[in-house]
Point group: C2
Chain length 708, copies 2
């Protein structure tokens, strides 16, 4: 059987495919070997070795018992719905760009109807989540409309504008896209070229693309779907550029799909991933829109041409914060899948039946286990940051002053979290790929597809180097405030930089006082002390270098590394607080809390280990410290070696979502993998070009042939 | 214009496409911006800044003046040959799997004829090389037959067998594949399941696939092309397994392409890259072949059933050494392209016309420049190792004892070179991808395609961890020989481990005596001293840990890192010897020698910097050393910042081979990039599924619509 058995497929071609498959199989030797027999046994043994209740962990991961129940139900619903999940003999991982575009739009259409027909709104939400787990193209296309477009309207539009659009957005009477990036401009938004010039005579804005590099580029949903866009443009009033604003522009006729006059749109074409997302380019040729379509919560223009700018130009980018935080959701969606695949393969694969499981190699588990811990840590960190975001936006109501006060911390944290998560996740994906050996090179084992989709996360939504540098700039600002004025701001939530309050004390620390790094496992405060000391010392070194005239570009690599470490430490702090409580604390099942505590300790050690060079550079660590940290870290990984199946089962991802035969839940991978190949198009037979290119060469007789 | 202008295309569809393109363009605003005008100026300025003669460097890179001339000619020949290079409006980067399979076989067919028709055999060679540069699928498919298959026949077959096959191989009357890997077995060759049982009665071997996991898997050229295979199998004689041997097996009828009786073959299907290579699986069902098709240079079986085993079972894997060394060629082919793309984009891209070139960011050039140096170092190292290989195989004649004496070093070096090159190259590719920002996510900018193709290099041909561990095992063996017996073997070439001769002296070094790391630039012996000291100390630490009973698996990560460092140091040593000579030395143009000397110094510092943690772990480096190394390293990168265009121009890769519009030689990237999108299939218009999935939603009126 394939991952979804052909016999259960809702595809009309399945019956014929099954007959053909059985015929092929009758010609093959598919007897199990000692290896293939061993695999399911290994899997069962690994699963039994979990020292925690796996189902409880899965419930915790899903967000509670009820959400878990609904998500399971949602998976059951979508699994056999041919408009949501590709049914065999077709394979999702083999769809062409055109097929993916259509299938993904079909998913949106279908989800809309399923959600509309479902009385249970919580279940409806889980159906969208389950579909997002199944297809990142769906997730992205859905997200562009549901989040990016909607957020801009709601965070930057006034009440009237929100009312004008929200009902149509929710009911998909319009589809929106988010037109920010241009061919020539991404990270430097101030350089955006598109203009919106106010025409006093007609009370309209004229949107225009002045040059080739001002073409809006990469705009998701623009190429084929969107009826509307929110567009960021330089606002020209009375001949003067008053800065950036967002405008709502209709792109297409809602009935015919034809482009609106003065709008030119085309497709970005073939991409590395996200084939189902119709990224497009947009040009405006003197396109007129009414004044009331300039989003006006923060900046306003009246009929008389009086322009009132936003209290701070940065609010125009406020929507970038939830965009970045959403990357975290994508991380948990995608990286958890790659880790599940690599982990399952890692415990069932042996190099010959008598050899050890490949997961038993140090090089294997020391990479995989901290990555698993990371995903759990990211999840908890995201909860806290989303909470902070809700506090600073008052649940969407957004008092400008409150928001601006808190924006610094939110911006810095969302920036470094995107940077760290983006980069570390791509490292994890590469680890997962290598962990599956050659079999990750088969498209059918899904990891290549995940890597393709992931690509955009490290380069879209702001360059990570720029983002991390911004975080460090903020940290330096806080440090300088503290050192020069002994000031520290008050926020409505606990700032990520709170440790800077004690900067002076940290700077006085000379050598690390902990001789045996394993003491840190028992006492998180020891870890915190070391991490904060290193961070403050590194920040202070950068600060000093700047004071002494080192150009900031020459401090770029140092700055990036500090920002990463700040983020990783913040994650540790959040989880240490959350999971540091004694086992038995209500609200979290004891075995789940116990394993989370271990993962937190491992993560803390991972940070200490990864950034130990920073400690060494500051003279805080000796070679003995370094060796002790390394030993503790690898020992901890080893001690968690047999928890890997439980931990990845905790992500609760069904086989049909993972798609990879080598990651089958039951460990019986080889037959499924082989079947997947056998039902693929043109899996056997003479290639169509045989007569053209092969036969003319091979049919020739060798004039000098030796007699046999 | 596109990279190959439509007006020059040999595709019959080009004329219509050009008309359509011009019509589309007439509707768009394609005025240049200050940014797009600046780009070619930046490129010209960067090119002029080269402190060496770029053409001389390109000649050096190509392997001499004559080779350079022929390669240029070859590029001109293939550029407008529609069977070798995809002509617009089709785009190589958009071909489907089926199209790639056919096109790639067409290239082989065409190259065969071009080569046959060309009197100039050197030019013929360069045509194959140019085509390999253009398509890695071609390169791989060509390599499987020309190298893997042929090498096995020649290195493991006796004279009669060589005579029997070589002429057919050279004339493509047969196509060969290399059937080693099985579904369940790759790195542990001893566990291979396929059996070859001698049938005394008929004087035949019976090849058989005993179980599902014994299916030959990933076999390149097996799915659609190969008429023959060399197959490694357990040899059973008189009921006894006498070990592994290689067998030649006919797979398909040379006239019809039909499978031979008792052979089952299918396609591996969709892969992450190499769509043009027909990887397949093979099962033998009691397939009979004559005894004389067991390759018999080393092991022989006579008609009486007397089996004479090879002098050392390791010779059966001898062909893996040239296979690994060939990875180096692939590296120079593929990574040089990605680096050229990232570098060219890096110097023409600014975040707005007034901002700096992105290449000016420290985070950018500190990653890109050492990577460029690496490629030049790899090239020279490969020359030396190929020379070693020729010495130890006596140019193919292979005296068994000589070969066995030298095999240790060859094996260790090919193993660690594959490990280091594979991993570092994938890191470089990721750097290149990120360096191009979002535009690397467009398939048309080629980096995604290169990454897809590269994937197999880090997982195929032996797991890198296993390979690097083998190298360390060899290094430890040498160290122990030296320390215990004060012995050091004599080889016909300079062993990579020669520094171990002085192990005792290195072990006595306490602290690094160089206080200012920049001294190393002037005096390579200082660098060598530091690198060798660290290597010997690390090896000794591992040796000691083993003596004290640490299980070898717990030393795996340490072992891998030492092997990497050994390899990187060897590369430095090779190049220091080659380029350390005074400028003016005959045989190498002075400005080329000068820049190579700088790249060698940079590479040496890169190794010191990258493995500085190994030095501080051993107490050899102080924090001040670390800071000095870091400063010297980043300063050196900065000093080479304006050489990047000259250095990548030195690879001499034409635009049509690079394919990426953002990497145009003249720097005029934006218009070309836009045109590439415009001529792509379905670049504009209403999608076919509009009526099915979009219109039904968007055409609905909002019942509560506010009056406008």
């Amino acid at each position: 059987m394939t991952v979804i058995p052909l016999s259960e497929s809702k595809d009309p071609r399945a019956k014929l495919a099954l007959e053909r498959l059985n015929q092929l199989k009758s010609q093959l030797n598919l007897s199990p070997s000692s290896m293939s027999r061993q695999a399911p046994k290994d899997m069962a043994k690994e699963r039994a070795a979990a020292e925690f209740n796996i189902e409880e962990l899965a419930k915790f991961w899903a967000g509670g018992d009820e959400k878990y129940r609904l998500l399971q139900k949602a998976y059951e619903i979508i699994k056999n719905d041919p408009e949501l999940v590709v049914q065999p003999p077709r394979n999702f991982l083999e769809l062409s760009r055109d097929e993916m575009r259509e299938f993904t739009m079909g998913q949106i259409y279908r989800v809309f109807h399923v959600v509309k027909d479902t009385k249970d709104k919580d279940l409806a939400y889980e159906i969208a989540r389950a579909t997002s787990m199944y297809s990142e193209s769906f997730s992205m296309r859905f997200f562009v409309h549901e989040m990016l477009f909607r957020n801009v309207i709601n965070m930057l539009g006034n009440k009237e504008q929100q009312d004008r659009y929200n009902d149509d957005i929710s009911n998909y009477r319009i589809f929106g896209c988010f037109a920010m990036t241009e061919l020539g401009h991404s990270s430097a938004l101030r350089e955006i070229e598109t203009t919106a010039t106010y025409d006093f005579a007609t009370d309209e804005f004229i949107l225009d693309t002045p040059t080739i590099t001002g073409t809006k580029w990469w705009i998701g949903m623009a190429a084929q779907t969107a009826t509307h866009a929110v567009v960021i443009a330089q606002t020209i009033i009375g001949g003067k550029n008053v800065g950036l604003n967002w405008f709502v522009v209709q792109l297409r006729n809602k009935h015919t799909g034809e482009l609106e006059p003065n709008v030119q749109i085309g497709d970005i074409g073939e991409k590395v991933g996200h084939a189902g997302v119709d990224n497009g380019w947009i040009q405006f040729r003197q396109k007129r829109i009414p004044r009331i379509d300039m989003l006006a919560k923060w900046a306003q223009l009246d009929r008389q041409g009086n322009y009132k700018p936003a209290p701070n130009p940065a609010v125009m980018y406020a929507t970038l914060i939830p965009e970045r935080l959403s990357l975290v959701t994508v991380t948990t969606q995608m990286i958890s899948q790659a880790l599940t695949i690599a982990t399952r393969y890692g415990v069932v694969r042996r190099q010959g039946a008598k050899n050890q499981q490949i997961m038993d190699y140090q090089s294997h588990y020391v990479k995989i286990i901290p990555a698993i811990a990371f995903i759990y840590m990211v999840r908890s960190t995201a909860d806290v940051l989303n909470e902070h975001f809700d506090i600073s936006t008052a649940g969407g109501k957004m008092d400008p002053m409150v928001y601006l006060n808190h924006m610094g911390d939110m911006h810095a944290m969302s920036a470094c979290l995107k940077g760290l998560t983006g980069w570390y996740s791509s490292e994890i994906l590469e680890t997962c790929r290598r962990s599956c050996g050659g079999h990750a090179y088969s498209a059918y084992n899904a990891i290549g597809h995940i890597i393709g989709d992931w690509g955009v996360m490290t380069t879209g939504g702001g360059d990570n180097v720029v983002l991390l540098q911004q975080t460090t700039r903020y940290l330096l600002y806080r440090l300088e405030q503290k050192l020069e004025f002994d000031e520290y701001p008050d926020l409505k939530f606990k700032s990520s930089t709170i440790y800077i309050k004690d900067a002076k004390r940290y700077l006085e620390n000379k050598r690390w006082l902990t001789n045996d790094a394993s003491d840190c496992i028992k006492d998180f405060t020891k870890l915190t002390e070391a991490l904060h000391t290193i961070l403050v010392k590194r920040l202070y070194s950068i600060h000093t270098a700047r004071q002494q005239g080192t150009p900031s570009d020459e401090l770029l690599l140092d700055s990036v590394r500090v920002a990463e470490m700040h983020c990783a430490t913040f994650m540790f702090n959040v989880c240490a607080e959350k999971f540091g409580q004694p086992v038995g604390t209500p609200g979290i099942e004891p075995s789940v809390l116990a394993i989370m505590k271990k993962l937190t300790a491992l993560w803390g050690m991972h940070v200490l280990y990864t950034y130990s060079d920073q400690g060494f550079k500051e003279g805080y660590f000796t070679p003995e410290h370094i060796k002790s940290i390394e030993k503790t870290y690898t020992d901890m990984c080893k001690s968690l070696r047999h928890q890997v199946i439980g931990l990845t089962d905790g992500f609760g991802i069904p086989d049909f979502v993972l798609k990879a035969p080598i990651a089958k839940y039951d460990g019986d991978i080889y037959q499924t993998y082989f079947d997947t190949l056998l039902i693929a198009p043109r899996s056997t037979g003479i290639p169509p070009y045989h007569g053209k290119y092969i036969k003319p060469l091979t049919e020739r007789e060798n004039p000098n042939a030796l007699k046999k």
